[in-house]
Symmetry: C2
Subunit: 223 residues, 2 copies
Amino acid sequence: VAGAREEHRNRQLALIRDTARRLLATHGAQGLSLREVAREMGVASSALYRYYSTRDELLTALILDAYNDLGSAAERAEAKIDRGSHRARLHAATQAIRRWALRHPHEYALIFGTPVPQYVAPDDTILAAGRVTALLGGIVADAAGGDTLVVPPAQRTMLEWENVALVTGSASAPRVIWALTTWTTVFGFVNFELFGHFVGSVRKPEQFLRVVVDELADQLGLR
Amino acid sequence: VAGAREEHRNRQLALIRDTARRLLATHGAQGLSLREVAREMGVASSALYRYYSTRDELLTALILDAYNDLGSAAERAEAKIDRGSHRARLHAATQAIRRWALRHPHEYALIFGTPVPQYVAPDDTILAAGRVTALLGGIVADAAGGDTLVVPPAQRTMLEWENVALVTGSASAPRVIWALTTWTTVFGFVNFELFGHFVGSVRKPEQFLRVVVDELADQLGLR
DNA sequence: TGTACATCAGTGAACGCGCGTTCACTGATGTAC
DNA sequence: TGTACATCAGTGAACGCGCGTTCACTGATGTAC
């Protein structure tokens, strides 16, 4: 049973992050200031230093949260689908990614937009970042039943095949390539939509994402 | 023949932008400050207001330059290729885009990264932004010789077909969809590479881009 | 159960800083007659 | 060609602002005996 002090501490930590997240929406990552968070919480700015000893530390916490939020949103949506319906699982995951991004544009920008100059992401963020990748890769892995990974010599050093195989299982080289392409395309898509590059060409992004992912699923050989 | 005054003015305008571009590299778009530009130029900060009456105006000029730089770099590379070799033209254009981005990461981030909060892009930037799109679309248009654009009813409102057709010509609907996918994928790719999301999976991005674009070219039906 | 001490949360003033923008000005360059 | 005036480039001081971070402090909450 957690002491009252520890409980209070956790509540405050969460409150700070929630407030910061809210402010992110109006000022962006670079404009996020500890003083404003404190003001918003009705507390002296120096009080925050009990919890996050630097602005970057708070930023890191937000980045971690964002990756995990996105990851679990995608996982939840995908988990609802029958395991055998690989194509439907891919649609569920990608649509969930897009929806999460639309609902949390500034947290999305935090992790997939321009990195903050001088900021260095610590290792735990890389781990959290892997959840979505693992999810997409897992679908491909499941679909690649009888495959075995044979890498053409010319492509041996192109990818980190061992790492990728941890995620896509025994999927064949072309499938792996299409898997990475799918991953890239989906986030390229969301970037474009969110950052305004579809203005003038794409009118119904949700439907278009579905069509694009369908094409990619064909290439991935998903039923 | 331009008067000495006008000439001086143009030199100063260019010098300001060049200096700002240089500073972009160390501080990012948000950290760009008029005062620092002035300091770097050895001039009073108020002097800059003769040329750009606001920080946003300078930012807009840089964005415009970036789009045009990228556009002409891609155009130059693509123009060197035999008109009939559509696939080679696509490779030339996409590799040029990637190379330009690597050489000008902060200018790239300025146009394809997180938008600056509250900043509104004026119309001329949209025009400049179209150069790359037009280039990629033009290749597809050329390759789509005998095509005619027939849009399935279900997809009628999905895209702004008229606008897109201005670029891709009479290419068939599936080809148009793959063209937009290619565009999205290429910039998603460059984003991922530049912003560090390929760490741990892609080891040779240039080669990988070539492979991915080759696959896309297959789908586009390019010879 | 009661007291003495250590730990922690939060305060408020202060530090030094850099920013965008305005303003009244000086001096040089161009223009009109 | 020479003078009178208008235009422009650049100066330097000042405005009001918000920032991250530090520090000595108060008071409340927990811990040990």
